[in-house]
């Protein structure tokens, strides 16, 4: 009982908190159903309609991207889970008990980030690989074109799908630190991913080209795509840029956590 607690102790405490509420289990299941389940559903539909597709569309069929389509739904479950790690504490008032136990707020913010990072890196990769493999099995059974993990471009796309999901979990968390309430955080998160791209679509096209490639959703697409349009960043730059966004949002959230009254 003598030695001082460290970041490891704070992280163990936060991990225990994360895994001891049913909402986490429900969140994880939702995440898996959206990421894997939707990809499987879409893949089956494509397979069933394959022979009715016109040949031109058969030619552009991307077995990798299609099997990973669930990522763009799973990201919402991931973001919500990231946000709730902090917003649920503000909602119940538990944040005060937490901060009384861990007055070093930077430690607290980091511990929560570590729990989310590790959990969603594992879940994100598991979900991405599962979606990919199941998708390819479906395409193979219907004699559609397939991708393969032995192809380095395909492997990279799958790995970065998991990375994208992990980063978006942390974006949700950072927004939660900044905004404090679950409802506001989810609105902003959804706006960034859904509404901002739509607004950008209405801008003059020469503007669009400059703005679109900076949007998180586009960065995700670029990270997972082998063939790039000239308007997008490469997968490497996209991954770096999205990581940078994430770090900035979480850091800003941490500063606000430190500064504001609980």
């Amino acid at each position: 009982m003598s030695s001082s607690p460290t970041l490891v102790d704070t992280t163990r405490s936060e991990w225990l908190k994360f895994r001891t509420v049913r909402a986490s289990l429900i969140g994880v299941l939702t995440f898996l159903v959206l990421t894997v389940g939707l990809a499987v559903l879409v893949s089956f539909i494509i397979k069933a309609n394959w022979n009715h597709r016109d040949p031109a569309r058969q030619l552009v069929f991307d077995p990798v991207a299609t099997s990973l389509v669930g990522v763009f739904f799973g990201q919402f479950a991931a973001g919500v889970m990231g946000a709730r790690v902090i917003t649920s504490e503000y909602a119940s008032g538990a944040i005060r008990t937490t901060l009384a136990a861990v007055p070093r707020r930077v430690h607290l913010a980091l511990a929560k980030a570590i729990v989310l990072l590790v959990t969603f890196a594992v879940l994100g990769e598991v979900a991405s690989f599962a979606a990919f493999e199941i998708g390819q099995l479906i395409y193979k059974s219907g004699h559609l074109p397939t991708g393969s993990l032995s192809n380095s471009t395909d492997l990279r796309a799958v790995v970065f799908a998991g990375v994208y999901l992990t980063l978006l979990t942390l974006v949700g968390y950072g927004l939660g630190l900044l905004l404090r309430t679950t409802a506001t955080t989810i609105s902003v998160f959804v706006s960034i991913l859904f509404i901002v791209p739509i607004i950008v679509n209405f801008l003059p096209s020469n503007w669009q080209d400059h703005i679109t490639k900076f949007l998180p959703s586009q960065l995700g697409t670029s990270m997972m795509s082998p063939d790039l349009t000239s308007q997008a960043f490469s997968w490497g730059v996209s991954a770096l840029l999205l990581t940078l966004y994430t770090v900035v949002i979480v850091a800003a959230g941490t500063v606000m956590l430190v500064r504001r009254d609980a």
Binding site: S4, D9, R12, S13, L16, T20, A94, R96, A100
Partner: protein, 305 residues
């Protein structure tokens, strides 16, 4: 020892705590008394590092809360019993606190047993009654066996048995040499549970002392009864007393001592059937003390540009 050092906290236009400055000594139960909105909870939150003071500071054995490495091993606190994740079980709540402060997990069962909620420790705290939540909060405060304990309105929601239990518990903590700081807005509660009382109003320090100190200099009233109470009232009013009739023949006299009342009646040739000095009740004392502070408060507001 807990030290409040010229502490001020402003929320926008509200001056919640206004230059509070006092010390809370170990070995006794110290009551923190003030009407609603007087700044008790704010002071407690600042002590725990939850809110940042506008100026001044609060220290525990010379260090601010942020400087404590394992705070729960030095300070235990119960602010709001419902400040818990409702979906987590009582035991997991305490286990998480223990982990964060490197407190042995065996303490979790010990404190659950001590406050008497071990049998429901696996249940979600959202379903707990206020009394059970209070007990869980106390368990959390005791988890790290701290030297300093803070409780914000701890008797709220407890039944009479629970209130008695918690009073005895505070006494035993103080007897062990710990610093025990307990807030309340009820003077009667403080009178029975606290050895030392600090009274605040509108964020400002008003008085401190034992219950006897606080009641000693409060002006009491004198109850007199006479067959001719109308004339007696006249006589006493002439002596600048304030009179309130009680029942048919009784008068409650303030502004004069019982000796002065007796002498005045004798001089006027009125026979007294009863002459009883009445000590001010605790609530009267409290109202007296804080009514003044409220008035100052009003002046402050009016004087502001």
């Amino acid at each position: 020892m807990l030290k409040i050092d010229h502490l001020t906290k402003r929320y926008g236009d509200t001056l919640a705590v206004n230059d509070l400055d006092f010390e809370v000594q170990p070995g006794v139960v110290t009551g923190f008394l003030g009407p609603n909105g007087s700044g008790k909870s704010t002071t407690m939150r600042i002590i725990l590092g939850l809110d940042r003071p506008t100026s001044g500071r609060a220290t525990i054995n010379g260090r601010t809360y942020e400087q404590l490495k394992a705070p729960l091993r030095e300070v235990g606190a119960l602010l709001d019993a419902k400040s818990l994740d409702p979906k987590r079980s009582a035991r997991n709540h305490l286990r998480a606190l223990a982990l964060a402060n490197r407190i042995p997990q065996s303490r979790v069962n010990d404190v659950l047993e001590f406050v008497g909620i071990a049998s429901v420790a696996h249940k979600k705290v959202g379903g707990f009654s206020l009394g059970m939540s209070q007990r869980l909060g106390i368990a959390g405060a005791l988890l790290g066996d701290p030297q300093t304990l803070l409780f914000d309105e701890p008797v709220n929601g407890l039944d009479p048995e629970g209130i008695r239990w918690i009073r005895d518990f505070f006494r035993s903590l103080a007897k062990e040499g710990r610093t025990v700081f307990v807030s309340s807005h009820l003077m009667s509660e403080m009178a029975v549970s606290a050895d030392q009382i600090i009274v605040i109003g509108r964020g400002k320090f008003i008085r401190s002392g034992t219950v006897d100190d606080l009641t000693a200099d409060a002006k009491g009233t004198v109850f007199v009864r006479s067959a001719d109470s109308a004339r007696l009232a006249e006589v006493l009013r002439a002596a600048r007393a304030t009179i309130e009739p009680v029942n048919d023949s009784g008068l409650s006299v303030s502004g004069l001592s019982s000796e002065e009342v007796g002498d005045a009646a004798f001089a006027a040739g009125i026979a007294l059937h009863e002459l009883t000095p009445q000590r001010a009740s605790l609530e009267d004392v409290f109202m007296d003390l804080t009514a003044d502070s409220l008035e100052y408060g009003h002046h402050d507001v009016e004087a502001a540009p």
